[in-house]
Symmetry: C2
Subunit: 305 residues, 2 copies
């Protein structure tokens, strides 16, 4: 049994009000994989890089026990590259460069050893690739989580809608939930989206936390108020990775476990944004994570008699 994660493994160049990086390792599958690795020891990645990526960078994943057999290395090609600049509010950003490179004709390959996949995270990629990944697994995983973004709603909506029918959980942000549903109220948006396929919807609200919906219940998770947010890059991917990593560990899918998975995912995301790139996810420990989760409990608990 394993957790398979698809998504980009890439280079990012990031500028925030607090500083600027050259090309550093990033990508949805990188963030998600690192986050998941703190909960579950059978994390396997499906992605593609160019030969500029280097073994030292792949080692970042391997050092966290992540299986990279499904990470294709294309000789003579370059890795996906994204450059972006965050505004002062850290909630909006400008994309300065997007070089698809190897991603342009990425065809996800599922190694035979990945066919034991029980949990599948489809990180942000074209809906077509996300769908192909599901189809190439001989057995339908117990839980399929899909993360996507407004870009795919703009350019590949029919593909996205088709893919949504095949998944259990969708994670998007509040603006995306509004775009996808055409409803301003998140409650109404959730009702509509839950009829598109997913049984669960997670709406990520950045510094305002997250909402989990199923057909009957809503859970509101807080975000940890932080004195410094250095770099929000990868926070959503980290959240998704922590979320499914925690569920892979506990094994049972129900609303209560999903709630806790959101808290653990949020805790990991809070570490992520405290440093540039993946730095905040490299040297965590179970103790540090447990301590952070206690802060979430303290932050949001109250007793009404």
């Amino acid at each position: 049994m394993s957790l398979v994660i698809t998504g980009t493994v890439a280079f990012d160049a990031i500028e925030t009000p607090f500083g600027k990086t050259d090309k550093i390792v990033g990508g949805a599958a990188t963030y998600a994989g690192l986050a998941a690795s703190y909960f579950y020891d059978k994390v396997k990645i499906v992605s593609v890089v160019g030969d500029d990526f280097g073994q030292d960078n792949i080692a970042i994943l391997r050092n966290h026990g992540i299986d990279t057999e499904g990470l294709q290395v294309k000789q003579g090609e370059k890795s996906f590259f994204w450059a972006g600049k965050y505004h002062t509010d850290m909630n909006s950003r400008d994309t300065l460069a997007t070089e698809l490179n190897v991603l342009a004709d990425f065809d996800p390959q599922i190694p035979e050893s990945y066919q034991d996949c029980e949990f599948l995270l489809l990180g942000n990629l074209t809906p077509q690739i996300q769908q192909t990944t599901i189809k190439r697994l001989r057995e339908r995983p117990k839980l399929v989580v899909l993360d996507t973004m407004n870009f795919w709603m703009d350019v590949a909506l029919p593909d996205l809608l088709e893919t949504l029918k095949m998944v259990d959980v969708l994670t998007i942000n509040d603006a995306e939930a509004r775009q996808l549903s055409g409803e301003y109220s998140l409650v109404k948006a959730a009702r509509k989206i839950l009829q598109m396929g997913p049984r669960y919807l997670i709406i990520k609200k950045g510094e305002h936390g997250a909402l989990l919906f199923d057909q009957e219940q809503i859970f509101s998770a807080p975000a940890l108020p932080l004195a410094e947010v250095f770099d929000p890059t990868g926070a959503g991917d980290t959240f998704a990775g922590g979320f499914i990593g925690y569920l892979s560990k506990v094994g049972t899918i129900n609303f209560n476990n999903m709630k806790n998975a959101i808290i653990y995912g949020s805790a990991l995301a809070s570490f992520c944004v405290e440093k540039f790139g993946t730095e905040g996810l490299i040297d965590l420990s179970n103790d540090k994570i447990a301590e952070r989760v206690k802060e979430f409990v303290k932050l949001s608990s109250f007793i009404i008699e």
Copy 2:
């Protein structure tokens, strides 16, 4: 012992994506008073209206057991009038008209029977009037809560800063906390604001809930996700009124009671926004409120083992 509330008692004309009203009864003290009346039976209002306001409108307050001895009625003058139009997101609005009328030279009068004031809510008004109200109470109340807005930060900052030194709790929204402190991070903003006078800071985040800060702790309260928000007018005043009304009932000031007061204030605010103007606050019952509070508990509780 009593709860004294200052603030406007006024007419509003409101336009939202869901509809439009003619002049209806509004004002910070109206919303706050109505909300507080569900928790505490000695609510007393200090405000001013013109002779256009009418006994039938004053009766709305009296029917909720609110003492209006401190509500001056200026013969031959007109009541404060505000007209506004909300954008689709309901978080931003345009002011279409502000007619100060009686408010232009409002001098708050504290009837002798109000001198038993134990809890004081200074609703949104000029900091100068808020300060005068405190000074005209012979005994310093046990708890002074001040609500204000960006407008006073723009035009009367020195007055506001002086008044802040005299209060225990400040309630403002997130943009205002950023403006007042010059800090983008709400954690840093809170640290600075808690050095300006208040022992507690409540940051209202509308549909994202609220944050409570003291020197050592933070509490994050959820907002109830609503299918329909008809009219956000008065939600902040209602929140403040419910908050201090609940504290007036329990009597003891500590972080845990403040947390619950925020939940009760949020519950009242959730009723407020479901209808136009004060309509949602007229016919509540303790049962309805308890039911709503249960929804907040259900919405935000999780158990990490």
